[in-house]
């Protein structure tokens, strides 16, 4: 497919940030206005640009006079930048979109956001909005991916119970399970934390992970890469949007929506208090949830929207319909970010997952 959008200038920065040991990349890409410039919209996001590009193009179709500056970073770096801007009451972006929704909730709880003031907020289900300031834009299930070749003889696991049984029964999976490094990835931590509150399977799951020397990675794409090339047989808690769009192109991988329950994440966006172009930001959010935006998000990116997601995923789980558990945008998410709680949770994770040093 040839994209109609050709950015007039694509400026990429690869900035090395000296925050701790983690190497972080901040990318800034600018989409110039297509007509006489009347404004600029700065979007800060953790979403891969490939996912956002069609939305930005559609936005400029409607608002050709507005240039878009797109800042992409890892969730933790983005959170740090946005938090410090909020604390200094300075400008960072007109719109902040992140899959790290707990951090988004914390920022909104800290008074960093402003009321969106749009009728689209009222259309959203309750779980997908908070205070009219933070709204969910996507509907992305946490899925399992599997290597089809590895499961040519047997059935791939359909639920966590299947996965736990599989990990207990055979030694085949040793070193062949990949998942998020929950210390590195905001989304991975969020999914893990939700798993721990959702069902009692969590304890047995991480015990199995530990026994089978689970491999952990920063990002969904790396997990999927390993499953695709067969180094891993199963990837656990991968973002469904990435998995499905890869599976569309790559016949080697299969996607499973766990039937016991399927967590659903809505990437959340808010307009910062200090936004310079809140009007454009609101227009962008309205576009994302408009029929046009829904068509884009439901398309090849498989991001879906809270409005269209439940219908789009219905029937994709095979015989048994998965129980979708959207993670609500509420201050309860703050608990997962609590210093003490996080430290306890991570230490429990490490104890289980990290093999005892000989």
């Amino acid at each position: 497919m040839t994209r109609s959008l050709v950015p007039l200038a694509v400026v990429g920065f690869l900035l090395l940030q000296s925050s701790g040991s983690a190497e972080a990349a901040e990318t800034i890409i600018r989409f110039e206005a297509r007509a006489a410039q009347s404004g600029d919209l700065v979007i800060a996001s953790v979403t891969d640009l490939d996912f956002m590009r069609p939305l930005i193009a559609a936005f400029q179709d409607f608002n050709p006079g507005i240039s878009v500056t797109y800042i992409e970073d890892t969730s933790n770096n983005l959170d740090a930048s946005v938090s410090s801007a909020c604390a200094d009451r300075g400008f960072f972006a007109d719109l902040v979109i992140s899959s790290s929704i707990a951090q988004q909730v914390r920022l909104v709880n800290g008074g960093c956001a402003r009321e969106i003031g749009s009728p689209v907020v009222a259309n959203l289900p309750d779980w997908a909005q908070w205070r009219g300031e933070l709204i969910g834009l996507t509907y992305e299930p946490a899925v399992m991916v599997y290597n089809k070749a590895a499961f040519s003889e047997t059935e791939p696991p359909r639920s966590r119970f299947d996965l736990i049984d599989l990990m207990r029964q055979s030694g085949d999976l040793n070193g062949r399970i990949a998942t998020y490094d929950i210390e590195e990835s905001g989304v991975g931590y969020l999914f893990a934390f939700q798993d721990s509150t959702e069902a009692s399977t969590w304890g047995r799951l991480i015990e199995g992970f530990g026994r089978n020397s689970v491999a952990t990675f920063c990002c969904s794409s790396e997990v999927i890469d390993r499953v695709a090339d067969g180094r891993a047989h199963i990837g656990y808690n991968v973002l469904g949007s990435y998995a499905q769009s890869r599976a569309d192109k790559d016949p080697r991988i299969g996607v499973v929506l766990p039937t016991d329950y399927t967590l659903v994440l809505a990437r959340a966006g808010y307009i910062p208090r200090e936004a310079r172009n809140a009007v454009a930001a609101r227009l962008f959010l309205e576009l994302a949830l408009s029929p046009r935006g829904r068509t884009i998000l439901d398309g090849e990116t498989h991001l879906l929207t809270p409005l269209s997601g439940p219908a789009a995923l219905a029937g994709s789980g095979g015989d048994e319909e998965p129980a979708f558990r959207p993670i609500p945008l509420t201050p309860a998410l703050l608990v997962s970010l609590d210093r003490a709680k996080r430290a306890q949770f991570l230490s429990q994770w490490r104890k289980s997952v990290t093999p005892p040093t000989p």
Binding site: G111, W130, T330, P331, A332, V335, D338, K341, Q344
Partner: protein, 474 residues
Amino acid sequence: MSLAARLATGPGRSIAWRLTLLLTLLLTIAAAGTVVAALSYGQTAATRAFDRLLTGAALQIAERISVVEGETVIDIPLSAFGLLSLASEDRIFYRIIGPEGQTLTGDETFPLPDASAVGEGPLLYDTAFSGEAVRAIKMQRFLAERAVRGPITVIVAQTLRARSELASEIVARAVIGVVVAGGVTLALALLAMHLALSPLRRIERAILARDPKDLTPFSTTTPREVEALVAAINRFMARLDRRVGAMQDFVADAAHQMRTPITALRAQTELAMEEDDPRKLKTLQRRIRDRAIGVSRLTDQLLSHALVTHRADSATLEQIDLRRVAVEAEREARRTGGAEGIELDLPADPVMVQGDAFSLREAARNLVTNALAHGKRPVRLRVSVTGDGKALIAAHDQGGGMSAVQLERIGERFARDASNPQSAGLGLAIVAEVAGFHHGSIRTATVPGEGFEVGIELPLAEARPTGNPEGDAV
């Protein structure tokens, strides 16, 4: 303009209008009071309801603080935040402070309550954080472990959006309730008032529908509140009836009584005109004079009688001294002529009675005139207090008094002495009437050799302190 004045000058000063105004006023005051109470109640109720959530969340967090391997472990339960999320639109803040004052987790800058308000138990306080007013609770948990000893302070706070929403909802409902209840109450009150006032309209219709000549009392059943009014109307009509009757009597009497003597007078005058004999003429002239005096006295007495009858209905009784009445009556009698040489026999002390001075004077004058006309001089007008404690004003003469038949008819009108052309027959009728409306009676006494006495006996007025003629009988 004061409310009272406004009420007094309202349209037609109608009772219904006044009641409507007062009821509306009262209901408005009551409604305003209820709304004010609801405002305060709404605030209190909302605060209480959400303070419980806050307390519950703080308790849950405090409960999960423990010491493991010498470290303070704070395991914030999800349920605590779930509880706070019941106020779904509110921001949540928390801060947990260790025994040494170091913040263990949460918002390090969250303000503590004023030092003045420290207490042992949980403390709820209002403060502001991150640009918004918040309600906070401070709760302490004392750890007494080997490694950690001292209070752990848990602070949980929440913004006020849900509280104010609940409060305004309560108030809005209360206001709607009050307005509806007030409207319904007013409507029912007006209906009740309409029904309650319907007897008045019935009476009004009865009065309007009445024949103007019909002066009989109303027999309509009336509510107790207007009984007095209807009774007053009935009394008024009875008086009017009496007055009209008296007037008709007077006209009839006057016509009847005057016609005969005037006709006689005319006949005598015509005879006199024909008479040539000076001696006979002189006789006729004397007769004409006697007749004229008779007519004059008759006129006088008719008018006097009419006046006395009128005053019996309308005069207010006052404290008067009978001695004064006697003196004035004597003076009056003398002025009208033919009453020279009347003696006054008065006691030294005042003889006070409750009465109408004019009527009593007329009665006394008629007693004197009567004695002069029918008795034998000298005539004495006597005032005294009788043995059984009554006041007496009487005329005494030296004559033989009345016959038994006359005594029997005493007080009747026109019981005249046919032999005396000067008698109109009304004198003692007037006396009897005056005695009647003073609750007194006519007294006659014939003492052989000493003459005849006729007078009015009245009850003595109750003694009043002198110097206060107005009295203070309340």
